[in-house]
Symmetry: C2
C-alpha cells in the first residue's frame, strides 16, 4: 500500500499521514494512533523507510560489540558514544550494536553484511595483526577504523591519535628532567595502540642513549586494581637507588591505582616519582582532580567519536572516496606530577627507603 | 528473487547459499563473495531477514540515547551494555541506539515506532513525572523501564533496585553507630532514583527522631569534581562540633572527590567521618580499591542489563504478558570507611579542627 492509497483509506491528507508517521507535533495523538495502526495493518512503510529503500540505505551505522563474561568495555566508551551520537543525530542515523564474543566476530560481520541492517561499520580496538580489515572489505561493507593495526598498515580509512608521538614526547620530558630509570604500565600489547605507545617510549630512550631493556614494562588491562598491584610490586621493598623514578601510565584508572600505591608507601609525586598519564578527557575523573594534579598526554575520545561518525557517513554516501589515514596530534599538558629526578644522594621519602624508621 | 531462483542462477545449492549468507565457515571466501554480490544485485533477502519479515520482527531492541553538548553518559553504562549485550547475543538481537537531545525525545520514539526499526525499547533514567510511558504505550511500542518513575507508579513493566531500602539501611547503620549529623551527596533529584534514595535516608532519620531538615543534602551530577567541591564546602573551616560525621554518597566517582577533600583537610575515615557509597559494581574502580576500603550499598548494573534484555525480549515475543514490577534487593557491605561517631569531647583530626597548628 502506498501513501495515496492509505490517504484515501483513512480520508486524511497525505501531509497529515506523513506528519503523523514522522512525529510532528501538529497531529493529535488520536489521529496519530489511527494512522500508525492503519500503516502497520496494511504494511505501509512511511517516508523515512521509503527514503531509505529508495536510496538503498538502512540509515544505521554498525559496531560489533565485544561481549563475554571476561570482557569489560572501557569506561571511556561512553564518551566515544556521546561524540558519535551527537554527530549521528545531525545526520539522522542510528547506531546498531551487534554483540559478539571474540571467537564469533567474523560471523557477526558476515551477518551484518548479508542482512544489510547497517550501511557501514566502524572497527575499534585494532589489533597488531588485524584480520577484520580484509574481512569487511571482502564483504563489501563500507568501514572506518578507530585506530590503526600494525599490519596491514595502508589503504584503509582510519582516525587515530598519534600514540607513538604522544608517548615519545612524554618520555622525552622525563628524560629531560633527568630521569633515567623508567617504568611504563601499558595496556594490553595485543592491541596496536599499546605497541605504538611502547615504540614511542623506547624511541625516546634510545635517543637519550638508554637501552629499551632498562624499561620496566608491564602490559595489563587498564584498571585501578592493576595499577595498584603493579606499582606495589615495583615500589614495595625497593631500593631507592634502583627503583624507577619516572612512571608512564596508559590510563587514568591505572593511575588511580598507582597513586594509591605511592600514598600507601609514603612516596611523593613528584619528589620521589614523576608520573605521566594518558587522558582521553573523561568528565567523571579529571587529571586536575588528583591530590597532585597529573601531567598528561591528552586527546578527546568524544571528539574522535564525532569525527568517526562524520567520516563513516561520508564514506557511505561516497563523499569520501579515497581512504584517508587521519592521525591526530596529542597534547602534552604539564601539571604537578612531574619534576626533576631525585638526586642520587638525596634522602628519599617512603618506607622502603627508610627501613630503620 | 527467492532462494530457489538465486540457487539456480548461481548453480549453487540452497544450503551453500544460506551458509554463505549466514557466515558459516564451511564456505570459501570466493564463493561467499559471489553469493553476497549476487544477493545484493538481485535484491535477495537472506534467511535472517526472511525470518524477521515472516515474524514481523526487526530483530533489534531500541534505546533513545541522550545526547547534547552538556550531556554526559554515566560511565556505568558500559557495564549495563555489557550485560545487555551478553543476553542479546544469546537471543540473536541487536541493540539500536537512536540519538536524541532531551527536547526531541518524543519525536525519536515516534520515528522508531513508525519505522518499525526495532521490536521494543527500554527506557532508563526514569524521571519523577515520566511522560515517556504514556508516549510509548500510545505508540504501541513494547517497552520495559530500567527504574521506576514516581508517577505513574503502576501498570508498566520495569526492573529496578530497591533504592529506598538501600539508603534506608545505609542510614540506619550510621544512626546505629551513633551518628547524628548526616550529609547526603545525592544525584540529580529530577530523576526518580535520587528521590527514592532520599526518601530512604529521611525515613531512617525519622525513625531515630531526627528531622529531615537536619540532613545536609546536595543534588548534583555524580562525578569526582562535584564530590570534591561539595565535601570541601561542607568540611573546610567547619566546626567539628557541628559538621557532619556521617556521609552518604550516590556514586563511586562522587566518593573519589569526597576522599580527596578529606585527605586534603587531614580528616580520617572512619575516625572523623564515616562514608557509605552506592556501588553499581564497576571493574575499573572497586570499593576495596580505596586507601580506606568503602562501605557500600551494592547492586550489579551489569546483571540488570542482562535481565532487562531478557525480559524485553520476553515482552516482545509475548512470553511475558502481564507487566511485572521487578524490584531487586540491595546488599549493604560493611568495610573500613564506617565506624562509631566520634565522641563529642574527643580531639578531632583535621586542619579545620586545629587552626592553631
Amino acid at each position: 500500500m502506498n501513501l495515496k492509497q492509505l490517504s484515501e483509506l483513512l480520508d486524511l491528507s497525505q501531509t497529515t499521514i506523513s506528519r503523523a508517521l514522522n512525529g510532528y507535533p501538529e497531529v493529535s495523538e488520536r489521529t496519530r494512533f489511527k494512522v500508525v495502526e492503519a500503516a502497520r495493518k496494511h504494511g505501509y512503510k512511511p517516508n523515512s523507510n521509503a527514503r531509505k529503500l529508495a536510496t538503498g540505505r538502512a540509515g544505521s551505522i554498525g559496531y560489533v560489540l565485544p561481549v563475554g563474561r571476561n570482557v569489560d568495555l572501557d569506561p571511556h566508551f561512553v564518551e566515544f558514544l556521546s561524540g558519535m551520537g551527537e554527530h549521528a543525530l545531525s545526520r539522522e542515523v542510528d547506531l546498531s550494536l551487534t554483540p559478539a564474543p571474540y571467537e564469533k566476530e567474523s560471523e557477526a560481520y558476515r551477518r551484518i553484511a548479508a542482512s544489510r541492517s547497517v550501511d557501514g561499520v566502524y572497527l575499534s580496538s585494532m589489533r597488531n595483526d588485524e584480520q577484520r580489515i580484509a574481512l569487511v572489505r571482502g564483504l563489501g561493507l563500507p568501514f572506518l577504523a578507530h585506530g590503526r593495526a600494525l599490519a596491514p598498515a595502508d589503504g584503509y580509512a582510519c582516525v587515530d591519535i598519534d600514540n607513538e608521538g604522544a608517548f615519545h614526547a612524554a618520555t622525552r620530558l622525563l628524560l629531560q628532567l633527568g630521569h633515567k630509570r623508567l617504568a611504563y604500565l601499558n595496556g594490553d600489547t595485543d592491541y596496536a595502540f599499546a605497541v605504538h605507545r611502547l615504540n614511542g617510549v623506547t624511541r625516546a630512550m634510545s635517543e637519550y642513549g638508554l637501552a629499551a631493556e632498562s624499561l620496566r614494562h608491564h602490559s595489563a588491562a587498564m584498571n585501578e586494581e592493576n595499577g595498584y598491584r603493579l606499582a606495589m610490586m615495583m615500589f614495595r621493598d625497593s631500593d631507592p637507588a634502583t627503583r624507577p623514578t619516572g612512571v608512564l601510565s596508559a590510563s587514568m584508572f591505572t593511575t588511580l591505582g598507582i597513586v594509591r600505591a605511592l600514598n600507601h608507601l609514603g612516596l611523593k609525586m613528584p619528589d620521589d616519582v614523576s608520573v605521566i598519564t594518558h587522558d582521553d578527557v573523561f568528565p567523571f575523573l579529571k587529571p586536575e582532580s588528583f591530590s597532585v594534579p597529573l601531567t598528561t598526554t591528552r586527546s578527546s575520545i568524544r571528539a574522535a567519536g564525532a569525527r568517526i561518525c562524520e567520516r563513516l557517513v561520508d564514506i557511505i554516501t561516497g563523499v569520501e572516496s579515497e581512504p584517508v589515514q587521519e592521525i591526530w596530534p596529542v597534547e602534552l599538558i604539564v601539571r604537578a606530577s612531574t619534576g626533576p629526578a631525585p638526586a642520587e644522594g638525596k634522602r628519599a621519602h617512603g618506607r622502603a627507603a627508610e627501613p630503620a624508621e
